[in-house]
């Protein structure tokens, strides 16, 4: 088990250490694990080559807004599907559920065309809006809502609370673990999303961090590994920290498919 841990963990450690080495050290054989002195020059150079601060801000903002909206959309939709008795409810549920079987890849060309026609290329809404609808979140929320006692919701209704209030004051407080799981999964997916923002944006000012890495990779047609690895650390470290801090909820969300199935 120790050996497995070392093998699996070594690449991440190597990334972190190598990003602190200067050029000579990176290309000196035999390889040394520790840099002679921790040097942030690679990070500085990365920030001078691409607008690293801007990319970071874009990534943080898009991730927070995107996953926030995803969670709200999923919550509302699941509430309607579970607690509102209307004729077409089952049909709507099937409609939502079936989208889990449609791979995003087949939608990419038509969605790109639509976003281009809307004049949304190189805009934040172009990155954000097409991915907002949440089948996964709706599905998990619905599973959880079905397990809630209906009497609580009915009591709220009798007290004259509207559906909006019932959702936020009664249902949401009883759904915190599911909420956390869905929110964290959304954060990870939004942050890491690559193909769609890569297609929609070519203006460095609007890029997210993973897309920004492409810029660094392409510069001069030659790879400056120290700089590239420093940027890689900037891309991966925030999610790694989220993972380390909130591991249990995040893993619960990411493995939810297996638990429910």
């Amino acid at each position: 088990m120790v050996a497995a841990t070392v093998v699996l963990g070594a690449p991440l450690l190597w990334m972190l250490l190598a990003s602190l080495k200067d050029r000579d050290e990176l290309y000196r054989l035999p390889l040394q694990w520790l840099p002679q002195q921790a040097d942030l020059a690679n990070y500085l150079q990365a920030a001078q080559t691409v607008p690293l601060g801007r990319l970071l801000a874009n990534s943080i903002a898009l991730t927070l807004v995107g996953s926030g909206l995803k969670v709200v959309l999923g919550l509302c939709c699941a509430y309607a599907l579970v607690f509102l008795d209307v004729p077409l409810r089952r049909a709507v549920f099937v409609l939502v559920l079936a989208t889990l079987m449609i791979p995003p890849q087949i939608t990419i060309i038509p969605n790109y065309t639509l976003v281009a026609d809307l004049g949304w290329l190189n805009t934040y809404q172009g990155i954000l809006v097409p991915g907002l609808a949440s089948a996964f979140g709706t599905f998990l929320f619905r599973q959880h809502f079905l397990s809630l006692p209906r009497s609580v919701v009915e009591a709220a209704e009798l007290d004259g609370a509207g559906h909006w209030r019932t959702l936020w004051r009664v249902v949401v407080p009883m759904s915190v673990p599911t909420l956390a799981a869905v929110a964290l999964v959304s954060v990870v997916t939004e942050w890491n999303d690559y193909l769609w923002p890569f297609l929609v944006v070519d203006d460095a000012e609007k890029m997210t961090l993973p897309v920004g890495l492409t810029l660094l990779q392409n510069i001069d047609g030659m790879t400056n590994w120290g700089v590239l690895l420093a940027a890689t650390v900037v891309v991966t470290l925030p999610i790694l920290l989220v993972f380390l801090l909130l591991q249990r909820r995040l893993v619960a969300g990411l493995t939810a498919g297996a638990v429910t199935g």
């Binding site: 841990t5 008795d85 449609i102 890849q105 559906h163 893993v251 199935g261």
Partner: protein, 320 residues
Amino acid sequence: MSIAVLPARRPHAADGRPVARLARRPGARRRRRRATLAFALLAGPNVLLLLVFVYRPLVESLYLSTLQWNLGSPVARFIGLGNYREWFTSPETAGVLVTTGVFTAATVGGALVMGLGLALLLDRRLVGRGVARTVAFAPYVLSGFAVGILWLFIFDPRYGLMSTVLGWFGAASPQWYTDPPWPLVMVVVVYLWKHVGYVALIYLAGLQSIPQDLRDAAALDGASPARTLRSVVLPLLTPTTFFLLVTMMLSSLQSFDLIQAMTQGGPLGSTTTLMYQIYEEGFVNGRAGYASAGATVLFVLLLVVTAVQLRFVERKVHYA
């Protein structure tokens, strides 16, 4: 992201409040209208977005696949099944299908075998298994593109960590970047590193749901650990294995970020999977109609995998 689907369940079978009775109550019609309005307001936005950004493009993609049309071009010509005919007869297709098949088989098979091995290790009550779990799962949450870049550096044939490690065993580093089939091997290795922790954790949950008595009984009967694994543990893990087989196939068939970061489908198309080909034809060569035909083929493949899963889940639902 893929998800196993539970068989349909009637939401309020035990509700005990038939709609008919409700309708006869005074004010019921108003309440009903209110519920319909609330339903539209709450479910509407999500459903609308799904219709516009999932269902519309699904249909449109099928339509585009019948056109000879370049991305952004004002002219399009209807050519029926022409794109499909071209795809199925193109000399490139065989290569793409072989690459896709090899990549999928190697990533799914490798991840399942290694994940099970890791899960068996983690299942033992050893010191530090919490740390091992964390380290193993971490790569799964990281950006695929960033992971690809990081490993590209590790695979550097001269100054990479991999060449040093191979050196310890007296092996020379292959030309990972340029010499097929090594580029494909390289991407597979990284894919395995990224996904093995996920597979292990799912297997671990499966293992821990097996009653310890069963394994103890097998041991008492004199079965060796290997025999217990083969005759008791593995059969009981079949539903887990099946679930993983399906989800890993779905995600492997759709993987893009790693290939884009590491090889861009090259050299000489040796790492061009079907997914990558769709991107390349559509957005690099601009042949949107032709790429849409490829997307249909991928969609059918994924649909077959999902359909098999649905059938299985329906039949073996008691395992869930």
